[in-house]
């Protein structure tokens, strides 16, 4: 209920966005025109910041400076707002498209977690870019890259592919690979791992014979090491 109401308000805000600047500063009664040291920010300033953050993240390549400044400002506003005791905290970081809804409804900790996951997504996007880490030079400073640099300096290569893939560590490389493509129809048919291929899995199940199923069950319980299963060509 609450989030629906806020959604409507945001739509109004979006319509208002191209409004002339005059509309704001000619209204001296507007709470967000902060001339005194900031007490509590009006929720409209918070909404505006969330909108900016959302808009910034929707860009294919966000302006990092703009993003960081908006996030920091949002944190300041968030910190100054009275703790929203009435709002239930959201337990887990939401997916990017619904982030605005959840940001409004969540507590401070969840907000941080949301922003953390968004910035992490950003770093993975950057990590998969063409540009690799620059290589150590044998120039005057005379040493290899290493030390405090968080990236894999010594393994930097000239090629764009290899350099950039290792940028954020191997974990980052695999995080956004859709593993559902590796889902075995056999698992699905067993009901062990219901995935998106529920349909095709169920269709193919009748093709398997009992020997195959027994074999797979054995593998599951660990009585048999996994060998390449015989069966219908796949």
């Amino acid at each position: 209920m609450l989030s629906k109401g806020l959604k409507r308000k945001r739509e109004e805000e979006e319509e208002k966005e191209p409004l002339a600047v005059d509309a704001w500063w000619l209204d001296p009664g507007h709470a967000s025109v902060a001339q005194a040291p900031p007490a509590v920010a009006s929720s409209s300033l918070f909404d505006l910041s969330v909108l900016k953050l959302h808009h910034s993240l929707q860009q294919s390549e966000p302006d990092l400076r703009h993003l960081v400044l908006v996030v920091n400002t949002l944190r300041r506003i968030q910190a100054s707002m009275a703790p929203a005791a009435a709002l239930p905290p959201v337990p887990s970081p939401p997916a990017a498209p619904s982030v605005a809804d959840n940001l409004l409804a969540s507590s401070d900790a969840a907000l941080s977690a949301s922003m953390a996951s968004l910035l992490e997504d950003l770093s993975h996007i950057e990590g998969l870019s063409q540009a690799p880490q620059p290589l150590a030079d044998e120039g005057p400073p005379g040493r290899g890259i290493g030390g405090a640099a968080p990236s894999l300096g010594a393994l930097d290569l000239l090629g764009p592919a290899t350099g950039c893939l290792l940028d954020d560590g191997l974990e980052g490389l695999f995080e956004d690979i859709d593993t559902s493509m590796y889902d075995n129809e056999l698992w699905a048919s067993e009901g062990l791992k219901p995935g998106p291929e529920d349909g095709p899995g169920k269709e193919e199940a009748p093709e398997l014979d009992e020997a195959e199923l027994d074999y797979l069950m054995d593998v599951l319980v660990g009585t048999q090491a996994l060998e390449r299963p015989p069966g219908p060509g796949r």
């Binding site: 025109v33 390549e61 990092l64 400076r65 960081v68 910035l119 620059p134 000239l158």
Partner: protein
């Protein structure tokens, strides 16, 4: 504004070391170089004017297939190399790639080849009865520009600055999180000298906004941040200069605190003085002069447009608060200049403490006319030609300005127009 118009928006302006040449870069990836004509003997009172010398396409839009992104061809910065022979060289950069361009003149051509005719076609050898020595004949001046080096794949993030070292052999390029050192002759590798990317991107709270080498000490450079700090680094101290030698930061003024304090403190430009003793920084509302020997606070602060302080919320809403203005020193480090809105630009005399607001517009800039000082009124008594704060045009921003290294000549970029003013700047200060 159509796409063709957008391409003409000037994105950088830079005089070369003698002031004879002035380069501009635009959003469409073009570089236009102007040359100052020698002073005419017939009219000794009229100083040499700047005419177009060369135009070339520096960068083209590129497509990053891995990220499905278009890399803008907009020229972010141009820096001239000190001239070492008859040719001129400059570095130009967009968000990702830096290029070294060589500019040469050709005003003679050989004539009288034995094997080729005047059009260059091979002669019928049976018609050649004697040999001649080709001679060089004068021709109309031709300016040739060629790309000599392309420094690619050095940056993951967007390049905001480049700076040539006083050693004339190396230069640095800075993006939001990293600074790289390059050798001008080597394009396939660079050395990372600053890296502020946190291990977890969720911890990212600060980005690099500008950087520059010290004009005389080849081991020193400065970089500024979005939090308003300056870090002076010594390349002799460590190979990776994540630890600064000096940190210049002014404590926040508690009486001026607002939610926008950090945004308006973000430094958009940093320039060493010609003497190398001072640094000039620009943030949203002020320009500040820093003494390299004093880290605690700037030695001088000048208000560019303090009347905007009460409008920060509106300027946040329309994103103007994120505009990045540049700043400049005059040749003797006695006057500083920066741009503002409504096509206004400001100059501050450090000695007399007087300042002036001038306008770059067609109406007020007839040739040979003296620029009239402008004034923004904030209420109260209003003079006849004053502009009220609410009438300022925020789409007319002077982000890029440059000052001739020796003379009182300034170049002002107002959207897609370039203004070059050669008037005496010390008069009309109020």
């Amino acid at each position: 504004m159509g796409r063709r118009d957008m391409a003409d928006i000037i994105s950088t302006v830079e005089f070369n070391h003698t002031g004879e040449l002035l380069a501009t870069g635009d959003k469409g990836g073009r570089v236009v170089i102007f040359q100052r004509e020698p002073e005419s003997k017939n009219a000794p009172h009229s100083q040499g004017e700047y005419d177009v010398y060369s135009t070339f396409q520096s960068h083209e839009p590129e497509f990053d297939y891995l990220k499905s992104l278009e890399i803008e061809e907009k020229i972010n910065k141009i820096k001239w190399l000190p001239q070492q022979n008859a040719a001129h060289s400059l570095l130009s950069t967009n968000d990702k790639t830096i290029k070294l361009w060589k500019i040469t003149e050709r005003d003679k051509r050989p004539e009288g080849y034995n094997l080729k005719d005047e059009e260059g076609k091979l002669k019928d050898l049976s018609t050649v009865t004697s040999l001649q020595v080709p001679v060089l004949k004068p021709m109309d001046l031709m300016v040739e520009v060629s790309p000599r080096r392309i420094f690619a794949n050095g940056h993951t993030y967007h390049i905001n600055s480049i700076s040539v070292n006083s050693d004339c052999e190396t230069y640095m390029s800075a993006d939001d999180l990293r600074i790289n050192l390059w050798h001008l002759a080597i394009t396939d590798r660079s050395f990372n000298i600053v890296d502020i990317k946190p291990a977890n991107m969720e911890d990212l709270t600060e980005v690099i906004t500008a950087s520059e080498f010290h004009p005389h000490h080849c081991n020193l450079f400065v970089y500024s941040s979005s939090k308003g700090s300056l870090r002076l680094c010594d390349m002799r101290a460590a190979a990776l200069c994540d630890k600064h030698s000096k940190l210049f930061e002014e404590p926040e003024d508690p009486s001026n605190r607002s939610f926008f304090s950090e945004i308006i403190s973000s430094v958009s430009d940093v320039k060493f003085s010609h003497s190398g003793r001072y640094m000039l920084t620009r943030d949203y509302l002020t320009v500040k002069v820093w003494d390299l020997n004093m880290e605690a606070r700037p030695i001088e602060t000048y208000q560019v447009h303090d009347y905007l302080r009460s409008k920060l919320c509106s300027l946040y809403e329309n994103d103007c608060i994120f505009d990045k203005f540049e700043c400049a020193w005059n040749g003797s480090d006695s006057v500083i200049m920066t741009g503002a809105y409504n096509n206004f630009f400001r100059m501050f005399d450090r000695n007399t403490k007087r300042d002036v607001t001038l306008e770059a517009s067609r109406e007020s800039s007839k040739p040979r006319a003296v620029l009239k000082p402008r004034r923004v009124c904030v209420g109260g008594k209003r003079r006849r030609d004053d502009i009220s704060v609410d009438s300022l045009d925020f789409t007319k921003k002077i982000l890029h300005t440059a000052w001739h290294p020796a003379e009182n000549i300034i170049a002002i970029a107002a959207t897609n127009n370039l203004y070059i003013f050669q008037d005496k700047v010390n008069s009309d200060m109020h």
